[in-house]
Subunit: 744 residues, 2 copies
């Protein structure tokens, strides 16, 4: 072996008679009569042998126990005789309801182990504890119901609790969980153990933890209600309906005393009342103190057994399954920042991090006045919910929705079929969580409707956790009813389009006058259409740039939120306008090109000949005098100059492109097009980068392009053409000097 | 209150006589004689009262205990008389070494509680357990040393263990930890409890766990050795030196049996031997199977008490404190990908996630042949290590380094001063971890030197965990000795520079011949320098573009790794060359501009006058005949055309810029400049994006620019000038037609 190189040995490779030496990181043999301990890092004596010496498990000496005391004590150091037999480990064993006693009360080691039955009679009420080593007071429901430590008929024993048989008890529940996406209905070990006992304890004793546990089992079954079955939600509804007399909590009609609040009632049309009747009491701003700028979500969290864990703020990525830095995770709750995050997570990591499900009741915290913090209950739209076997929440018609309150992130508990210590067969993951905030129309002060959380679950059949992955996403979206802005845009389009018609008519009339004919024929009509195409393109361009600048200024600069950006689905019209502007402008450009190419130009040289020329005529020998010709080179010169000014432009295209790119990318104007609340040009590398808005991108780019073009025009018109050179003026001067005129 | 709005109440706000009702999420009053339980979610009876009825803690009925039985049993359901007094909770209390017995062995409730002393004599050896409720076998070291359950002098009792007094025992250790960055030395509660007992158990009994715990305490003190003190590392060295007879592990001289391997010896100059004498046995490639392409780091992990936890692969971000998706975290171990990650983490999150430190011994796994996986021990360079009070690892001189083996990520344990249940006063975080891989010079097959892990720790004084943050970073860097490439570049530079001198001399000679003078004066010398500037700029450009393309092709396209990119610190010369090329080219350009501006041009019109002109002379009344003048407009025309071809270019600059930007950004050629092993043009949005390499950026951009320019030149020369128009040929034709010639 080379220097500093060691073979790789794992504790599992050592086998039964070797242990893993943690100092050498290699396997080492155990001594005589020993075998590997449970952790693999030390040795223990084989059954029937007691420890004589041990220095932490590394040099262990074992001694065989004699025949008459063949058992070994629980701590492994002494031999003892076991009257009721030995376990496979070599220790004494006792029957189920008897405890194993190896030492007397004051610690004296006995020679023979005793199996003692605990006294369950009045006053003592003792039974064996879970480990079978002490007598402790037995389960209190046993004592309360049957005044003993037994639960015999007609009392009902379920889930380790004893209940008095009653009429009016809730019916027997079905301990099954339905995973509709996979089409699997399995019998859950957790439900088998706890469903009936939770229902009874909640009904009979109003035991708050049991009621929460029952509610959680209903939530694990996707809150699916069905009038025919008595599954977890059926039992919950039974108790809910039958306990109307205990009253409601905080004047909310769906929240019964003692029971968790699971449903918002099941009449159709309730959803729009919940979501739109009341406005959220606080207003939000883009630039203010923390309270007005952040959405302070807070959740009451419960474990599966129904215990209240704590009030949990959602900051720190509680609902965000994809790992990321704190700054980026917390950006989701900045008001106005559209947040999107998605990634693939391996199933083995989910099984490791979310072994026990946590159930959340979500609220939005706000300042209720008088220094008291109030909470607004946030409704949940569970897309997997089935009402009488129909997925009522998956459509876009709000009247069919059945809103609920409680949800979880990962359920790896209800999918365990037979044994709670084994891995589950199916798990359910909240793979798509969306929080949607809607701004009230025509608000001036940032009033919103109550937010809505939409959760979509994915059922995953566990086959190979190391390689299976799940795609999860978390979104916070902001929307408002854009129909008003849409109407205004249409009105502007109509008005300007009409003005464009008039303008095009004027241009056509001018063209007809120049061509001389006064008959309105097909050619006139085509000319009008081409002129109109150009003007309509300008109208579309003005509308779209105006829209972009409007959104840019009014969204980014507002303090009290009164407008929100359109969602990508609401931008379709805008994209159509831009496309129309582009195609019509192309048409106008081709028209201009064609007319420029087909124009006829006449050059007239007004120069008078300077005298006569004596020219010898061939053949005749006579000297004639003719007019001195004017050189044609003069006309060539003017024509050449005319040709060259055909492509003169007011601006320099290379500078335009480079300047716009400089402003967009280097100075950071492109950051104004992000769908967040900040109007700063820079984004630190650590902060969250929101997605782009198409309207804002177009607005920023067009505004920059037009602004830089205008600056160039001003520069050329005012400075360059005045002090350096103006090609048109030069040409005019040339024509004057050379006495040549042109006509088209 | 508005609909769906509830006030926020937390369990802590309920006070002593109310409990937190988890179904209403509000505080509710406890019944008579009751107070809030520890969790806050239920009520318990006050001291002196026993429970009569409880349905899970929500409706509790309490009854006062009579005077003669004023104590309450531990389970709270019965009254009992306490002979030795009551605790503050109203339960019975017993002295320290006596157990509290309320029920007899078979569970019968006693009227009077008993305090029983456990029998510690021979054979039984029993003492009270931790909870004071049972007699169990007492600590085995007590039994082994003093054959009883007491540890009296001359035996030494420390850390809950009993040791036989010896000469040759390790000296008394100092239980202090030094935080050098803050200048604090504090006495650690963990060290006070465990330092001496670990040292004794390791020395006397070779207890492997105790030896690991002692090593961990030395690591928590930054492996700092000092000949004068007997702190944790001093004790470790004492044991290391004194146990030379037990032998070494796997032929590694620094790894003693039974002890953890902490140091690589302390002679100077050892570091270069460790890092450079042997090559790592496996080779790596860029495009191969997983084994050759990934660095398979694996760490043996131990907890603070010295127990071996498991073999831990570093994949999944074990050493990366910044959260990120799995794909990006695992990209750190792709061979050839330069990985950099840094972020700010809040101290409260660190205290939550890393309450118990984990210690890692790092190895690099490779295939050792015969199907056996071998491990190469990876040395650690701890920048906070002090050797005799000097920070020997912080310089760049390898001969002073003292390499170590074990490190941790977060130590929140040694900073606890008095009580292990309180938060620590100071914590230490590995804020800067760097893994550097060096390629062996002149390797053809991807051979590397053993990797080196450099760890820098930050000491944080805990004042306000919620607001304090720490900047952490993790880097994987690849380097090789670039001196060979440097030499080759210098040689090329020298050769081409010499050729450039000859070329400039030729140009100067040509210029002198054209000017006509043959004196070599100062002006000639300046002209030579200006010509040389231009040629030298070309030489620099050729060298730098060649270097960029060399690295691009040879680094990205290689299969067996034989070259690595230069580090940013090794690129300084390259940047200098580019700067020289730019400045010299500017000089040449100015020279060209000036010479173009100061040239004298003569136009000669060869046209013969066509006859004589009869011109009336003013005043004299005589008609004279003079030669018919040739029109000057001809010369004007030629001169105008000549002026316009001064700025004709072979390529179109706007197209050049747009085409290069298109290739770089849209097609993704800029991704070739990333410091990773992939030569693909696209990077998926989920994958890790490596940092840029300056040489590759220049190489890719320059290669694209030159390639597109050449394509444009070819296009213009072959197609455009042949079929559309060639301005130079047109000018020549014009001169022919007009019979005008020009001379400079």
């Amino acid at each position: 072996a080379r220097a500093f190189s060691v073979p790789l040995q794992r504790p599992a490779d050592c086998g039964a008679h070797r242990y893993f030496d943690s100092s050498r990181l290699a396997c080492a043999p155990c001594g005589a009569h020993q075998r590997q301990s449970a952790g693999g890092s030390s040795c223990v004596c084989e059954p029937g042998y007691r420890m004589v010496f041990s220095n932490g498990g590394f040099s262990v000496t074992c001694e065989k126990c004699p025949e008459n005391m063949s058992g070994v004590t629980q701590d492994g150091w002494n031999c003892i005789s076991c009257p009721k037999g030995l376990t496979s480990e070599g220790n004494c064993k006792c029957p189920n309801n008897e405890i194993l006693v190896e030492r007397s009360m004051d610690g004296i080691l006995l020679n023979e182990a005793l199996c003692i039955r605990c006294n369950g009679s009045e006053q003592s009420f003792s039974a064996s504890d879970a480990s079978g080593s002490r007598c402790v007071r037995c389960e209190k429901t046993f004592i309360q119901v049957s005044k003993s430590c037994d639960c015999n008929t007609p009392n009902i024993l379920t889930g380790g609790l004893c209940f008095l048989a009653h009429e009016g008890l809730p019916p027997k529940g079905i301990a099954s969980v339905r995973f509709a996406q996979l089409g699997i209905t399995l019998t859950s070990a957790w439900f088998l153990k706890n469903l009936q006992s939770s229902a009874f304890a909640c009904w009979l004793h109003s035991n708050l933890t049991a009621c929460q546990a029952l509610g959680n089992m209903c939530v694990m079954n996707m809150n699916s209600l069905s009038s025919s079955s008595t599954d977890a939600c059926g039992l919950f509804q039974y108790i809910f309906v039958s306990t109307a007399r205990v009253g409601i909590v905080h004047s909310i009609p769906y929240w019964r005393h003692n029971l968790p609040w699971l449903y918002y009632g099941d009449q159709p049309g309730l959803a729009s009342q919940v979501l739109e009747k009341n406005h959220f009491p606080t207003t939000f701003t883009f630039k203010g103190t923390d309270k007005d700028v952040k959405l302070q979500f807070i959740a009451a969290s419960f474990d599966a057994a129904g215990n209240f864990l704590k009030w949990q703020s959602l900051e720190g990525g509680i609902l965000q399954l994809c790992p990321d830095t704190q700054t980026k995770l917390n950006a989701a709750y900045d008001f106005g920042t559209t947040y999107q995050q998605s990634c693939k997570i391996s199933v083995s990591k989910i099984l490791l991090d979310f072994a026990n499900p946590v159930f959340y009741d979500l609220f939005l915290e706000y300042n209720g006045g008088n220094g008291q913090q109030d909470l607004w209950a946030v409704p949940v739209l569970n897309l997997n919910l089935q009402y009488n076997e129909k997925f009522v929440n998956q459509g876009s018609n709000m009247n069919n929705w059945l809103l609920t309150r409680r949800f979880f992130l990962v359920d790896a508990l209800s999918g365990k079929e037979n044994d709670l210590r084994q891995p589950p067969r199916v798990i359910r993951i909240a793979s798509k969580i969306t929080i949607s905030i809607r701004l009230v129309s025509r608000t001036q002060r940032g009033t919103i409707y109550p937010p809505l959380v939409t959760v979509a679950y994915t059922d995953v059949l566990i086959q190979n956790p190391e390689t299976q992955t799940v795609m999860v996403s978390f979104t916070v979206s902001y929307e408002m009813n854009q129909s008003e802005a849409q109407i205004q845009t249409d009105i502007a389009l109509g008005v300007l389009g009409g003005l464009a018609v008039l303008w095009s008519l004027l241009k056509t009339a001018g063209w007809k006058r120049r061509t001389g004919s006064s008959i309105i024929d097909l050619q006139t009509f085509f000319k009008f259409l081409l002129f109109y195409a150009g003007d309509l393109a300008n109208v579309f361009f003005i509308i779209t740039v105006g829209t972009g600048i409007y959104w840019l200024v009014f969204f980014k600069a507002q303090q009290f939120v009164s407008v929100l950006l359109p969602l990508p689905s609401q931008e379709e019209d805008f994209v159509t306008y831009v496309a129309c502007a582009f195609s019509l402008k192309t048409l106008q450009f081709l028209h201009l090109l064609v007319s420029q190419l087909t124009v006829d130009i006449f050059f007239i040289d007004w120069e008078r000949p300077k005298g006569k020329v004596l020219k010898a005529v061939e053949g005749e020998g006579v000297v004639k005098s003719t007019v001195a010709p004017v050189s044609i080179w003069r006309t060539y010169f003017i024509a050449n100059e005319w040709n060259e000014i055909q492509t003169v432009r007011k601006i320099n295209p290379l500078f335009q492109v480079l300047a716009v790119l400089f402003f967009l990318e280097v100075l950071g104007f492109s950051n104004l097009a992000l769908m967040d609340a900040s109007s700063s040009l820079t984004r630190s590398s650590e902060s969250y980068v929101a997605p782009w808005s198409r309207i804002l991108r177009f607005g920023v780019s067009a505004a920059l392009w037009v602004a830089i073009a205008i600056l160039q025009v001003i520069f050329f018109a005012v400075i360059y053409e005045r002090f350096v050179e103006d090609k048109i003026s030069q040409f005019v001067d040339l024509c004057c000097v050379s006495n040549v005129s042109i006509s088209l």
